[in-house]
Amino acid sequence: MNAATLIKRLPSRIERYSPALLLAAALLIYIAIALSLGLTRFLTPEAAISILNRSIALGMTAVGQTFAILVGSIDLSVAHLISASAVVSSAIMNGDPAMMVPAVLVVLLMGALVGTLNGLMITRLEVNPLIATLGMALVIQGCLASFHGKFGGSVPDAFQFFAYGVVLGLPFSLMVLTLVVVGAWVVLRFTRFGSNVYSVGGNRDTARAAGIKTDRVVIASHILCSLCASLAGLYLASRLKSGSPWIGTEGAYDLESIAVVVIGGTILSGGKGGIWGTVAGVIIFSLIDSIFNLAGVDAFAKQVMRGIIIVAAVAFYAVRSKRIVA
């Protein structure tokens, strides 16, 4: 190992901790603002939980989006799938606790179906993932709108435990998200499928040459992505008591989940990144939100700054690379 290679490997070490660096920066700003405004009650564990609680749906969606992006694809249909999941679950449950299980099953099945279709379009029909999932989004939106005026329905109180329940002093939803995150981490880190996701995202030809069925990996990643979105839809239905057909789009979960994933250091072309970066990204987003709320920034200025922050955060990773991007 000579000096040149040492110099070369140094940046890649730093890079691995960049999401943590960003997170620390956001945290510091938050604390500084809270202290300077004398709002120490925003620095308690309860406040921390409430910050995390802000982003359950985004977190779930982003975990799924991480799979899609890592495998070298992308999913623009998540927002509409979230709406569809929320609407369908509340329509099926319609206040009846007995329908909870069937509703959850239908919604997850629907998610799996959407993911499969996305994956098939991308692998078998070789449609650019952006277009494939955008098309899927439009189709879902159309199907949803054709039910317009017919959705209604609401989830039974029992189902609201998902969003509002507290177990051992912690919000149940936060525990579910934690479970999803840890599950995703285990899958990515400790399963062959997880390795395959990185390999296929890193270089599809290499992965294929190594004997990996790349199409299956892409499809499976999309199924996971859609399942996560469906779960987020269920969570929102539970939180909002009913599903409305604009719930996913009004939260801009498609673009926000992508933004969060790339802020977490996963590169858009795939093969590099990970779930903890995404978690950091989600927390950063929540912190930004809380910082803005604390500082009383008005909604429009908030938007401006959010746009700049997304670009700046991604630039933070990208600016050192020599690769040409378009």
Binding site: K8, R192, Y198, S199, G202, A207, A210, I212
Partner: protein, 504 residues
Amino acid sequence: MSTPSPAIEMRGITKSFPGVKALKGVSFSAYPGEVHALAGENGAGKSTLMKILSGVYRLDGGAVIAGGEERLFTHPLDAIRAGIAVIYQEFSLLPERTVAQNIFLGREPTRFGLVDHAAMNREARRVLSLFGSAHRIEADTVVADLDVASQQLVEIAKAVSLDARVIVMDEPTAALNEAECEVLFGLVDTLKKRGVAIIYITHRMREITRLADRVTVLKDGETAASFDHVPEPDVIVRAMVGRDIGDFYAAPATPQEIGDVVLSVRNAGNERLTNITLDLRAGEIVGFAGLQGAGRVALAQAIFGFSPFTEGEVKLAGKPALFTSPRYAIRAGIGLLPGDRKAEGLVLMQSVTDNGMLTARALSALAGKADATPFASTDQMDGLLQDLDVRAGSFSQEIKALSGGNQQKAIVARWLALAPRLLIFIEPTRGIDVNAKAGIYHLMRDLARKGTAIMMISSDLPEVLGAADRLLVMRAGELVATFERGVSEADVMLAATGEEAVAA
């Protein structure tokens, strides 16, 4: 030595790509415990044959017989399951993943369904230890952090770890120095003893002599010759080239033809280069030899401003020439034909004419007419392409359907339109068939005769020896030797590897 039934047999393999018949009924076999060398010029069909064997391509006709039965490989996984492992010439490593992860790509050891990282690293270390302690590679290093030779060794380890019955090695020594080569040769011997059938692709005669039990030579997608023993090198070479070497290369430059210094570099260096001093003259073809990763391409890129020198002095025709981007270098009169045409040379979806016009247009005003640049009009370019005998259905067809030689000539045309002072050729004949090669050599000589300084980088040592007027050898980022025309291959290798003893 060979047991009666072959470990792998390929019979009458044919394969076509749009517009190209790559294999025309090739048969090939390998028995357990033997090394069967597969020789042939670049583009003779060796890689295609091996990609069919490994399931990357599907054959059009013929049969692959493994373990006594006919197999149809539709996916590399099928080949792997049939016990066939391939060490590819282009690295198939994932730079962002660790050595161990790359070695066990797609078949990570698991425990209770979960990847057992400890076992994977342990196993990786075991495989890597085959290379001995001379070349230490840590199992948990990220591949991007390794040098080229180590990456090549990882690539080899990946194939070896498969415990395959057949291992294909596609030019495995291109990046290795002598000591590393010896490690590899020892490994081949070990594998042989274990009864593994090894298909060894190379065009280094030395390695064939050292390792092979049998030799097959491919040419133009057909079996040109097949030997059950290892014949004299010149027999193999003749079979590969298919004609006398005499008129293959153009005549060297006469002293009168060599003119003034075009490029002079003094004590220049950067991250990958140290203390480079050289002069390139008009009318002269200067060859650069060295192992992969020795800094030849880095030198070309430094002169071309792609990854510039950070120290020293460079002058082009007497003017300071430390360029910081290819664009500046091109403006000053330097051209470069990249080694990886597809990645760095061609814009594949554009027409042949557009590819030829690329630089002429790039140096003209953005709002200027695309069909008539100050350097060339499209009509002139089409004429130039015709003069260079670029064969295409039409010059307005997409260049990606053309053969490698024609593509290369289109890139040459790109530079001719600018009449550069210095033209750098990197691997000018890679992927080009024999007849077209001679055309490229003669083209280089014609350019030199017209007063261009030519810098030629090639991993094909005989080619550099035959085509260059002068030979510079690089090792580890430094220029280590200068040879005049007529030097022996052995002396060059000696300088390139820095070893004392070299087998002929």
